[in-house]
């Protein structure tokens, strides 16, 4: 499919040294993907880690729907369906992850109302922070998505 684009980028968190953006929101009838982008103030020196990455070091992200449902990027909480079983949305899958952020797929579209992106990153002293988007923008973008080949449903 050709996705529909959400025409905004969100500043989810900002400290004196770091900022976290949600950027490149692309929407399909089954869900949406986006970049989780970490920006660092270039005027400040960058610290390098010398030990393996652990979950406790990672940037934590949660997406909350207006009806109370939510999904986060903790791999320990990701559903592991068996066979043809389809997990109940929303499910958040972060396909890439690193010091500069990652790429995220969220299975399921939000209901109308506020759509909240919340993050915290204790390892980088980013406290719990959040930004809201009108889910109507996501739903309108989903309606603009179109199939690439007429002989295929997706």
């Amino acid at each position: 499919m050709v996705p529909g684009v959400v025409p905004v980028a969100l500043l989810v968190a900002r400290t004196d040294t770091h900022a976290v953006l949600v950027d490149g929101l692309l929407v399909y009838p089954t869900g949406f993907d986006f970049d989780l982008a970490v920006r660092r103030d270039p005027a400040r020196p960058r610290e390098h880690r010398h030990r393996p990455r652990l979950w406790d070091d990672e940037l934590r992200l949660e997406v909350r729907f207006a009806d109370g449902r939510s999904a986060d990027n903790d791999p320990r909480r990701r559903p592991r369906p068996s066979g043809d079983e389809v997990p109940a949305p929303p499910v958040l899958y972060q396909s890439t992850s690193g010091d500069d952020g990652g790429h995220v797929w969220l299975w399921g579209l939000p209901p109308p109302g506020p759509l909240v992106f919340a993050c915290q990153w204790p390892a980088e002293q980013i406290p719990p922070s959040q930004a809201e988007l009108d889910a109507g923008l996501v739903l309108a973008a989903a309606a603009r998505a179109r199939t690439l080949w007429s002989d295929q449903a997706s």
């Binding site: 996705p3 684009v5 905004v8 980028a9 900002r14 900022a19 490149g24 270039p42 960058r46 690439l148």
Partner: protein, 186 residues
């Protein structure tokens, strides 16, 4: 100093990727509200999405999606020749004033890493993928002039020969005007 007493290796410090090779780190981009289908053959489609504009240029993502029938075939092909299929996919941007910018490294000035090139300059940040498709990030140093802005791709392996789409560059210029500073004082 003995070998065992060597100091711990430290990554180079102080290096910054030059401003012409990446979007400004201190800005939230203005999003260009378009999704572009550059070309579609029986086997693959090429999209440009995620267009984010800054005062200094335009960032975007090129995505290749295989036809679902191809996906089945490629998944079961033990030789996996599709791994190299994206190597000859090249992109060119054409501006209203006649200038062009290509992501083919041969079109880049030899000193692009150390000396600021004249815009427009289309830098390619590399890409990755699998038999399910391919994704790469690009950075255009310099904003287009008003008028038509064409994205044209050539990709013989994907059966696409000079296929593209045109948008009004004012969409990019307006989005660049919406970019905001992350740290207002910086």
């Amino acid at each position: 100093m003995s070998f065992f007493a060597m100091p711990v290796w430290q990554p180079p410090s102080g290096y910054r990727i030059p401003a012409w090779l990446r979007p400004p780190e201190t800005m939230v981009p203005g999003i260009v509200p378009v999704e572009l289908l550059l070309g579609r053959s029986d086997t693959d489609a090429v999209l440009v999405t995620g267009l984010g504009a800054y005062p200094t240029g335009l960032e975007f993502v090129v995505t290749v999606r295989p036809h679902p029938d191809q996906l089945q075939q490629r998944r079961h092909d033990p030789g996996r020749p599709h791994r190299f299929a994206y190597r000859d996919l090249w992109l060119e941007l054409r501006f209203a004033d006649g200038q062009r910018a290509s992501n083919h490294p041969r079109s880049w000035p030899r000193t692009f890493e150390t000396e600021q090139p004249d815009p427009p300059f289309l830098y390619y940040h590399g890409g990755g993928g699998s038999e399910r498709g391919w994704r790469s990030r690009h950075w255009l140093w310099g904003l287009p002039p008003p008028g038509p802005l064409a994205f044209v791709c050539t990709w013989p392996a994907g059966q696409l020969h000079s296929s593209g789409v045109e948008i009004d560059a004012s969409l990019v210029l307006e989005a660049a005007g919406r970019a905001t500073a992350v740290w207002p004082t910086s």
